[in-house]
């Protein structure tokens, strides 16, 4: 089943309030995707998983992207039986990012969502074990956000270091080559 047909099928079942537009393959966009309203993403995913003609049983990846105004979660799905792929995207507001969990649809989503929570701060409502996955439990902030600032000190480890190439190092002479010249002259 190609993505146009999947889009029609989802539109029929959910209506245009939940299943938004289809971005088809064009210049740059190598893989078409369907945009879905964030608060209903779990229902759409469950439908994709259980319907026999869709049967998207393998959740390849759930990941986030920081698009500036919103955080966008990207779901990459694949069907072993039908050999087709589907990409779903849903946006969530940056101020209070929250989405319903898909752990009930695919158990594999458990760690995917923990990782997105860890790195982007998206709260997955209903997740059974929403803790940080890759970073330490007492880490502050969500590093994959574009405006993330690393904390200055973490457990006595100094965090961000200055770039030596950009540091303004006071020197007594303008150019180190001058030093060589003067030494040569002195000799």
């Amino acid at each position: 089943m190609n993505i146009e047909k999947i889009h029609e099928r989802l539109l029929q079942h959910f209506g245009s309030d939940i299943v938004l537009d289809l971005t088809s393959a064009q210049e740059g966009i190598r893989d078409p995707f369907i945009t879905v309203a964030g608060p209903r993403i779990d229902k759409v995913c469950l439908f994709c998983r259980v319907e026999p003609d869709l049967a998207l049983d393998f959740c390849q990846s759930i990941t986030g992207t920081d698009t500036g105004e919103t955080l966008t979660c990207v779901y990459h799905l694949f069907s072993y039986a039908r050999r087709h792929t589907l990409v779903l995207k849903c946006a969530t507001p940056r101020s209070q990012p929250a989405l319903p969990t898909c752990t009930g649809v695919w158990p594999a989503a458990n760690w995917y969502e923990r990782e997105v929570f860890d790195l982007f701060g998206v709260v997955f409502d209903g997740h059974p074990d929403l803790r940080r996955l890759l970073l330490p439990d007492d880490w502050v902030g969500h590093p994959m956000l574009k405006d993330y600032k690393e904390q200055p000190v973490y457990h006595a480890t100094v965090g961000p270091r200055n770039n030596p190439l950009q540091m303004d190092i006071p020197t007594t002479r303008e150019n180190p080559l001058d030093l060589m010249d003067s030494e040569e002259q002195g000799a």
């Binding site: 190598r30 893989d31 590093p143």
Partner: protein
């Protein structure tokens, strides 16, 4: 002393730490085990000790310059990880790769797959208690490392692939040396089978241990050899062929429960042994049909917009890369999802009611590589 051990006591249950530095945890991996004697209630994996923020580094690194970092995503099978990243950027750019370069990529990847599987099956035997097979396979891996070093100068983290091809053509006489190795390796695997695969003690320790059903494997997203061992007949190289795999002849090994039940530790072990044989078959075909021509089609300008994803059959299964470009030399977002990451999740489910010693066999049979989980 007693007070220390039982400070987390709840009834007869103990909470113990296995790792992060434990000889059988394949890198820095930690399990929190709730156990009552030898039988575990549950083992909860704790990951993140090797998190190097490669996805964040990628946002400030030009597309070509990320290749050495991608090596470190999976340092036991760096060539397939390289291929995943190179293919993702090429797909985003719509860039063509010369045919000879595709052949060289597949030759390098399959050699790397043999060395990676050799480590996996050798280490699994060692973790169970059979020390001897491991050095036998390590010896073969040295030869492969030598061959790959001749190709690109590195023994583990290759940095061989480029966006648009590979960095170097074959050195003189390399095909013959590779052929000699393959002829030698044909005799190694039967010897290995006699040594360990059909060994009665090994079968006792691995058959019927932690069987994963096909439904569980798909639901938890197991990929590659772990998925095939559970009886799901799916291989990206055959079913969604990329590069030149569509033109190669090979069989896909699927677990059948020969020694116990489908998807047990022995099946996972056996699938990897079979895959090494198939890789040798593929290598022979590639070396015979190797075309002449250029090996590197350098892209003029790498500033893509839009997004793309690719899947590559890595040594640890389906490796997924998602890349978003924003018209600058650095990507907007890069995401890798790897085989070990998914394999690690199922440990918690399958560890219930299992002996502590069998957990070691189970982790080893999943071929978990810690840096690949944490990235």
């Amino acid at each position: 002393m007693n007070q220390l051990i039982f400070s987390y006591d709840s009834g007869n249950e103990m909470v113990l730490n296995m790792g992060p530095h434990h000889p059988s945890t394949h890198g820095v991996l930690r399990f929190i085990i709730r156990t009552d004697g030898e039988i575990m209630r549950e083992a909860t994996p704790v990951v993140g000790y090797l998190h190097r923020a490669i996805e964040k580094i990628a946002e400030g690194t030009p597309y070509e310059s990320l290749m050495p970092y991608v090596d470190r995503v999976d340092y036991v099978s760096a060539m397939t990880a390289d291929q995943c990243w190179a293919m993702a950027v090429e797909k985003l750019l719509g860039h063509e790769v010369p045919e000879r370069a595709e052949y060289l990529r597949v030759i390098a990847s399959e050699l790397n797959r043999i060395s990676s599987h050799a480590i996996c099956v050798g280490v699994m035997a060692m973790d169970i208690g059979a020390i001897t097979p491991f050095p036998y396979l390590l010896r073969e891996r040295e030869t492969i490392n030598d061959l790959l070093e001749e190709l690109c100068g590195n023994r583990l983290t290759y940095n061989y692939l480029r966006v648009g091809g590979v960095s170097h053509d074959l050195p003189a006489g390399w095909v013959d040396r590779c052929q000699t190795f393959l002829d030698h390796f044909d005799n190694v695997l039967p010897e290995f089978d006699r040594l360990i695969t059909n060994n009665e003690i090994f079968i006792d320790r691995s058959a019927d241990v932690c069987p994963v059903t096909a439904e569980e494997a798909v639901a938890y997203g197991l990929v590659g050899p772990n998925l095939r061992a559970s009886g799901v007949d799916f291989d990206l190289r055959r079913d969604l062929p990329y590069s030149i795999y569509g033109g190669l002849e090979f069989d896909v090994a699927v677990g059948t429960g020969t020694m116990g039940s489908v998807g047990d530790c022995w099946d996972r072990f056996w699938v990897r042994c079979e895959e090494m044989k198939q890789s040798v078959r593929m290598l022979r075909q590639c070396l015979a049909d190797l075309p002449q021509g250029p090996v590197y089609n350098k892209p003029k300008r790498i500033r893509p917009t839009g997004e793309a994803w690719v899947r590559v059959e890595s040594s640890r299964g389906d490796m997924f890369c998602y890349v978003v470009g924003n018209g600058t030399p650095q990507p907007e977002r890069v995401h890798f999802r790897t085989g070990s990451y998914n394999a690690m999740q199922i440990v918690k489910l399958k560890s219930r009611g299992v002996m502590v010693a069998d957990l070691v066999a189970f982790i080893a049979s999943l071929d978990v590589i810690a840096p690949e989980i944490d990235r």
